[in-house]
């Protein structure tokens, strides 16, 4: 786990020295702090900070939800870094950053909400090695809109991408999304897709055609039985890594910059890619990998789009949880936003105990080519296309700030062939053990028993 060692930009006590520093702030956390300042503008509030070291001097400081503090303390987690919040009204002449002699113990960063004639602004600062405040490279709001203090989207990004929506290949897409600025924001999002098989390849193809930079994580190789439903691979790809074959084809067909990570999700290379992304999608076919994706998304404040599908024909498999009816066929699509409920809060896992056991024991999957027949009846590209189409729409609406909260959608096709879309009930527990890890970053990864050391093939 060399990538998780502290880099030179952060001293062991968490004080910033040099390099690029981002403060990563989930919108629900910002909202809760705004609510405090509305009633008490002079309140002195602090949040816990997690840390994600990305290498090359890049560091993300993860602002943790206040509800996680009690759990963290009770578990004696090592994090002791804190972020100081303050509010400046338009009438106040006090300059920010705050005075350097007003450092509460353990405070490594500050966020200042400042009301000006042109509206509200939010400024982030880190402590330098000489006990001075220095501006961070960016404050990034995680959630609807993917807003950041660092970029003026229309001018900078449009120039960088050479984008002219009136003549470019995306003119229709930009028009349908509501404008060039939304398209540009989407193209700026760096995505990671975990699982590059039947569903993952369809999602990867759709995403790559929008031009997003994309990493594909999958350690499986292509077999003959994959060719019937996978996207963008052929017979000549049999025996190649799924991620690699898919990346090669999509790089040729689309303008997207695609990197193949032919490793399991808990491999250090895969974790490093996930830490550096803006958005994760999980398209795996087992709940152990799904749980691992959910844990990483929670630790590092990554929005997660999780897709699972299944088709069960009566008498054709041994599953006992689909009684009656001649066919059960559907898909669960969950878009989970940091600090707004986790994978366990929004539907959990179909096989949570099995997933946990596999992660804890680092047990390899069953190597049984016919095992799938006992779990399900098969796979249909039509169902997976529905799932990935809706998932991409949800991602687009998230970036466009139309979708602003965690959302779980289920599509089911009845035995008589009618589609039914539902939004299942969400059952959130205040003591959710996964939510308690929100924003813990590298320390949480190291703390989870067996996880960092796990070599399980997922």
């Amino acid at each position: 786990m060399d990538r998780l060692r502290p880099d030179s930009s952060v001293a062991p006590d968490g004080i910033a020295t040099e390099g690029s520093h981002h403060i990563v702030l989930p919108i629900p956390v910002l909202r809760s702090m705004m609510a405090v300042f509305v009633t008490n503008p002079s309140a002195a509030i602090t949040s816990d900070l997690g840390i994600s070291r990305l290498g090359n001097g890049r560091t993300e400081w993860l602002v943790r939800p206040s509800s996680t503090t009690r759990y963290a303390v009770s578990r004696s987690l090592p994090s002791h870094r804190r972020l100081l919040w303050s509010y400046r009204s338009e009438r106040e002449t006090t300059r920010f950053p705050p005075s350097s002699n007003a450092f509460p113990a353990g405070v490594a960063a500050a966020l200042v909400l400042a009301e000006t004639a042109s509206g509200l602004s939010l400024h982030g600062y880190m402590q330098s090695a000489r006990a001075q405040w220095q501006p961070v490279s960016a404050v990034r709001l995680i959630g609807a809109g993917f807003h950041t203090s660092a970029t003026k989207w229309p001018s900078v990004i449009a120039q960088a991408l050479g984008l002219d929506a009136t003549t470019s290949r995306w003119s229709r897409t930009a028009g349908a999304l509501g404008g060039n600025d939304i398209l540009e924001r989407i193209r700026y999002v760096k995505g990671v897709i975990v699982g590059a098989g039947r569903t993952g390849s369809l999602l990867a193809s759709a995403v790559a055609r929008l031009g997003l930079p994309l990493d594909l994580v999958d350690s499986d190789v292509i077999e003959l039985h994959n060719l019937g439903e996978m996207e963008a691979v052929g017979e000549s790809d049999i025996g190649r890594f799924k991620a690699e074959a898919l990346a090669c084809t999509l790089t040729r067909l689309t303008p997207s910059e695609i990197v193949a990570v032919n490793r399991p999700i808990l491999d250090p290379d895969a974790i490093a890619r996930i830490k550096a992304c803006d958005l994760m999608a999980c398209c795996v076919d087992n709940d152990a990998a799904r749980l691992a994706a959910g844990i990483l998304a929670t630790l590092y404040h990554k929005p997660l789009c999780d897709i699972g599908s299944g088709i069960f024909l009566a008498g054709r498999n041994q599953r006992q949880d689909f009684p009656g009816g001649e066919r059960t066929m559907g898909t669960d699509i969950r878009l989970l936003l940091p600090a707004d409920g986790c994978l366990l809060c929004h539907g959990g896992l179909a096989d949570f105990d099995g997933a946990l056991a596999r992660l804890a024991n680092a047990r390899a999957p069953e190597d049984d080519p016919d095992g799938w027949r006992q779990q399900r009846s098969g796979s249909l590209r039509s169902l997976n296309q529905m799932a990935t189409g809706l998932a991409l729409q949800m991602i687009q609406d998230l970036v466009a700030a139309r979708l602003a909260e965690s959302t779980w959608v289920r599509i089911e096709i009845t035995p008589s062939g009618r589609a039914a879309v539902s939004y299942p009930q969400v059952s959130r527990e205040p003591s959710c053990p996964l939510c308690a890890l929100s924003g813990l970053g590298d320390e949480g990864l190291a703390w989870l028993p067996g996880l960092a050391a796990s070599n399980v093939h997922l």
Binding site: G119, L120, H147, A400, Q425
Partner: protein, 67 residues
């Protein structure tokens, strides 16, 4: 501090600003601030309890996990 859940008004942000301000960091922050002020200072009237779902219809767990 117990707060009423804030309504999702992100799409309104786009409409409020002629479809361009959705891309703007400060506009987004200002909108969020106004929204929070409104929610805290003028709590919404208590909503009627949602209809009790039929237990047979209540779905709280995922079913599908493949592909």
């Amino acid at each position: 501090m117990a707060l009423e859940p804030l309504e999702s008004q992100a799409s309104q942000l786009l409409l409020d600003d002629g479809g361009n301000a959705g891309s703007d960091y400060q506009s987004f922050l200002s909108h969020l601030w106004r929204q929070t002020q409104q929610a805290v200072k003028t709590p919404p009237a208590k909503r009627p309890d949602p209809p009790t779902p039929d237990p047979g219809e209540l779905v709280t767990h995922t079913r599908y996990r493949y592909d």
